[in-house]
Symmetry: D2
Subunit: 439 residues, 4 copies
């Protein structure tokens, strides 16, 4: 049956359209920098926010009531949810999905039953994937929601919880492989601490590394070739999350000699919670060769929690796509809308309106970023700005021929050449002009 | 001549004293954990905040007028400032000082003259060191104040500025060696960016690493055995500083294979600007073996800039000393008061009152931390909390015998054992009791 | 039956006690400034955090399982919860409680049934109050949790929701009266906006004022003489809450001519979310004569949401009690622990340990504040600091005899007299000494 | 002589222009909603940031060296600066300017000389105003920079400083009148506190009100008909500024019965420092009838100090102009660029580039806002959203016929009607479309 009967497939109608249920900027087949928009953007639906978030918040209960949840048993609901999800993705033209193990199937009475339930739902998903051609961008484990993970999973003080988490991740990697997932994500929802007064950070971080190494070994053993990704977040739910930001994760991966096995999944709102811009985090990943995938959403800079809003800020989408294009595109990654409709946007239609808002914002961002790169606006400016490293003493520095003595001799003899303006305001005005004028 | 004629040497009078110009808790010769307080705390005076900060802020001019600045030429002022500084340290019982090159001597018309001036003042300082027994904890370079560093020093887009910075650091290391400095600090005041629109972060970070390698080579060449330290800060003056926090610096050091040459200088206010607690940053350094030294100050959690207040929060000083003692003490490092009197505390007496406030707060913190460790309050709690890693499946994990298959088998067979409470509130109450009751 | 069988009544054992289940500082009968501690502190239990919070957070489900919830029907649970709550208050020596209508009784199928259920539970509570002598500090309405309040209650865009909220408040005032509540609190959980794009702030604020006026009229009509209180909070759950902070609430009350009918209920964590210190908000209330009551908790300055932690920071409790004593004490108000045990403190014993931590922290704060006032430490300093307004031109200003012309004449003739230091560091050191040395 | 010889008058060249020194969107004579852009936007130059900010920051000295400062005596510099400023405004097509007394003339040896100097420069300014037709939007007093104001001006603990501030404001109002200033602004740069330990907030706020009343009286006496404006800011330079935000200022004005004499000058960056959006603060002023004027700039949401950047964010300029147009336009107020070029934008050309960036951003914002209003996009949505207050029980509420009893009767009988979605995501997408498509 159809769950979104009143909604037709969302089509591209162009920037002049007044139809709320149409794309204004996302034109899947349009070519941008040698690929279709569809190929460049690799949009993904987040199973959790789209199909299991019901509008609860810490101060209020569910506002959303979905027809597909209107069934008797939880497994039946889970199956209907699969059908609804694929209908939604088809109609919204979303080519990928991302999921936690616990999003797709409810926990059973024990791990064995839980795993059996996963298998049952995975079969349904595979059918739908086959029917629609929609693919799995990544899978992951929810090892933070169940009370057993109250003190963490891989960093729990309880060794049996570590074991349970390992078992859960094992299964999640298996089903991600089964579904052809192109990546597998680790987000350490409770991997952190509430207070240092009771925490052995050294032991916990060592254990985290052990868990990740086991995951690498197991993936190799079963031939899972998806990319492993770590998703940084600085806080929430725990007071301090170990995977604070891109730099912290890279420090961890280098320390435990895991850098060749992992890339990062950068979420916009996690960047802002860490007091970085989204672009900053993407840039840090790009120059370190670890940009894996992107959780496309938006935070509210005035609020201190993870609002996971649909991304509608054109500056953010433009500058994100700018870094992504500079990095050579998303390759195996994608733009996963780890975004939820506002609690007050509780109608089913809002799901479509929100995805349209986000997809259009990124489509526009892609086009602006591509134009900026084609015109080499910022690239030429930067090349000129750093030109002094291409000749003379600068070239000596770049090529490793300088030391303190030669540089001192140079400075004593020559002083410094004049600096020139950084031209920030002009560059911001040009960015505005490109955003407003790129067609 | 004496500059602080009205002030006598500050003496320990005990907790009942009502004399503002006496220590209530800092009793230099008192033994704590096998050393004197003086040896444990290794207090240092910051030359800049104490002797060159005049009360300016972005909205107002100097409020402080010091008698030692009342001389005709800038070099005469610089010399008198040395005398005043050592008189101050003697009277305040501060055994170490820290300095930037530009704190102690004014820049000359060119680098040669500037360096000659440094030599002239260094000679004066050496005399005073000999006379008083006061030592140099660390030296550093101010490569951020002069307009030539507007785009950075080691990360400048202007190669001649890189060269100039290298020359300046070379000289600063030389004079730090000359003064017997036990450490040398790198704080990247302008090593960061204002906008990504004009910045090549990859080139800048590579250059930063080149500069640090040259410093290592030069130190080795001249036989400087002081410890190199990097001081993290996330922002201010630049929008983004590359050395954001301890984790970011460790990622950088590991990437460029510099981790064995550098430790960290952790500043409390820089921690809070990075949205970490002071204790967190010390803890991260401790468990990675890179705790070098400490900039003892305090920020205002409600303000978003580096207020560099004198540290008077007993929780912070206790938990900082707790981490330091766990790390085996300060070794070559110290507690440098990178703290400035408030702009409204503009009288000379305030300098003493402020140092007393900070030294007493750390002295009390030391005693409380020592008692907590002696009683193993938190250590026993943690040992018990993580005991499951000492036996059975936990021991298998710890000792590397577990993998995903064995852990899954364990989880399927055993589930998880019950978690126990983290007891955060009880531990906080115990901390209060120790703070209030430790004598 | 007894729900806390293993816990004996918590007794004062003094600062040397190592018994976690004893008070170290809270000695109910001890006299401080002419009253017993019990009278000065007027501690209250929050029904919601203590008896209905189960450890859920946005990323995880309940961690707490309480024996009194182990009943078949929701009304039975509600009744057993009353018994457990009073047993808890008796054992923890808490003389007051605070409640929302929805804390004490579950909603029924319609408003009539819901109200009937309230009546049924209120009768049980009254019996327990009679049996124990425990009193009601305040009641309030939960007009934010149910999905009908998704767009607000008094500020809803849906007039029938406004009507429903009014009906709910009417009933809540009635039962607060029935229970002898000394105050009634308004916290506008959803009275704010998510986005200005869809919000008529003027209409919403006018409506809010209308609702409050109706409440005043109704209270007068039924002879409810409890104090009406508004509790400010700047954000969460909504992006912007209208009752942002004390100043904003006072602006609102003055605009709508409601200032004589309302006082404020200041919550520490709401202050910090508004980027104010707890003391600041209490001070602003004090000098405007609107300090009504206090929600005693603590936030984490590094986190951007309402953590509602048990207050264990002695600086905060001391400076809060300082303002409260300056204001003449709590009068009808109290110290309500709007505090919840951490999600990881899920054992029943943690409830006691947490209340002990908070009560001891405030007891100590009370004693330190009283000593500071008795010794007039800060008061004398301030008197001297502002002495210039007691004579000469300052007195002319104070007494309204000065104008721009006379002041200009004075300034032209006299310039300004020297400023003296604000002595912040010395005052902070004195505060430390009083905290550490007051017995 | 001409100071900006290389710069021609900045002309509108349209959105396709690649000339950095041309307007792309600001077309002064173009009609928008019945007025020219010039009349709608009323742009003003800030004398301080544009002509006295030299690039200093707390960690570095001046980076900007201006030809007009290249004179021997400070009064000569002040005069040349006037000429440079008017040349700048002419070339940049800025019709208004704003100034502090201390921006235009250096302080003399005493107040009398200082005032005489002001008169001398005012005469030069008047000539230039006559020559160019450029007008004064507002004047103000710098009563925060001089060390005499270390403890505040109107809220100083030193009564002679209060007198001096009064004299200074008197003179500043006089010269503002002389220059035909349409407004006079009060920004309380040091009107706040550093620590509550030494502060009598009640006395300070009472004094502040006294000062403002004297100002009102004096304005009336001399017939100054300009609008008095208060500019809120929450912190910086002081830890806490009394004029925190719009709501706090309104509370103050109502308390002291000054609301009819003052309006507000809303600065974007001060809004964000107070954790409000720019639009929020404008909205609060609009619905309270106190929107006076606007300081057009932009903060960095990741930084905690007043960066005063040139406003280039189209969302901010659109939503600001939206509120301004809803309020009936700027009337006597204007858009004053309280914005400074970045320290690294130190070339004279950057001044023009920055103003162009800001003026274009607001011009575009004006056009988008006007189109949104003409199409009644959000207004129709809101009208429909609140329609329930136009009939039935909602109308009873609106028109004052409802009370708790009638509303309870309604709720018991009718329950609530269904809520509808707030449609935030759709509205954000429409805003994007209007920004991108409005020509
Ligand atoms: Co995510
Ligand atoms: Co998120
Ligand atoms: Co420092
Ligand atoms: Co600092
Ligand atoms: Co509360
Ligand atoms: Co709260
Ligand atoms: Co301003
Ligand atoms: Co500003």
């Amino acid at each position: 049956m159809a769950y979104f009967e009143k909604i037709q497939k969302i089509e591209y109608e162009g920037a002049a359209s007044k139809n709320p249920l149409a794309f204004k900027y996302y034109n899947p087949a349009e070519m941008v920098m040698g690929k279709t928009m569809r190929e460049q953007l690799r949009f993904a639906m987040s199973y959790w926010h789209t199909f299991t978030y019901m509008g609860n918040d810490p101060f209020g209960s569910a506002t959303m009531f979905r027809t597909w949840d209107n069934h008797e048993c939880s497994m039946e609901i889970a199956k209907e949810r699969v059908h609804a999800a694929f209908e939604f993705m088809e109609k919204a033209q979303i080519p990928y999905f991302c999921f936690h193990d616990r999003d797709i199937a409810p926990e059973g009475k024990d791990l064995a039953e839980t795993n059996a339930r996963l298998d049952e739902i995975v079969a349904v998903i595979k059918e739908e994937m086959k029917r629609t051609g929609i693919k799995c961008l990544w899978g992951t484990t929810n090892a933070f929601g169940n009370p057993r993970f109250v003190h963490g999973a891989g960093t729990s003080c309880n060794a049996t919880v570590f074991a349970y988490a390992a078992a859960q991740i094992k299964k999640a990697i298996e089903i991600t492989k089964e579904l052809g997932g192109e990546n597998y994500v680790f987000w350490g929802g409770r991997e952190g601490y509430e207070t240092l007064l009771n925490t052995n950070t050294e032991l916990e971080l060592d254990n985290m590394a052990k868990l990740l190494k086991m995951a690498c070994n197991y993936a190799e053993e079963i031939g899972f070739t998806g990319q492993f990704l770590i998703e940084p977040k600085p806080k929430e739910p725990t007071k301090h999350q170990y995977d604070t930001d891109a730099a912290t994760v890279m420090a961890f991966l280098r320390k435990y000699d895991l850098l060749d096995k992992f890339k990062l999944n950068i979420e916009a709102n996690h960047a802002t919670l860490a007091m970085h811009t989204f672009q900053h985090e993407l840039n840090m990943c790009r120059i370190n060769g670890v940009l894996g995938s992107v959780d496309a959403n938006m935070g509210d800079p005035m609020l201190g929690w993870d609002t996971d809003q649909f991304p509608t800020n054109i500056y953010d989408t433009t500058l994100a796509m700018y870094e992504i294009l500079l990095a050579g595109g998303l390759t195996k990654g994608g733009l996963n809308f780890d975004s939820k409709v506002r609690r007050a946007s509780f109608e089913e239609e809002d799901l479509f309106l929100a995805y349209i808002a986000g997809m259009d914002a990124f489509a526009k961002g892609l086009k602006v970023a591509a134009k900026l790169l084609e015109d080499r606006v910022f690239e030429d400016f930067k090349d000129k700005r750093y030109a002094s490293y291409k000749e003379g003493i600068g070239r000596d520095i770049s090529e490793g021929r300088a030391d303190f003595k030669t540089l001192e001799a140079y400075a004593l003899a020559n002083g410094v050449t004049l600096n020139t303006s950084g031209r920030q305001e002009m560059l911001e005005a040009i960015l505005n002009q490109y955003i407003l004028e790129t067609k």
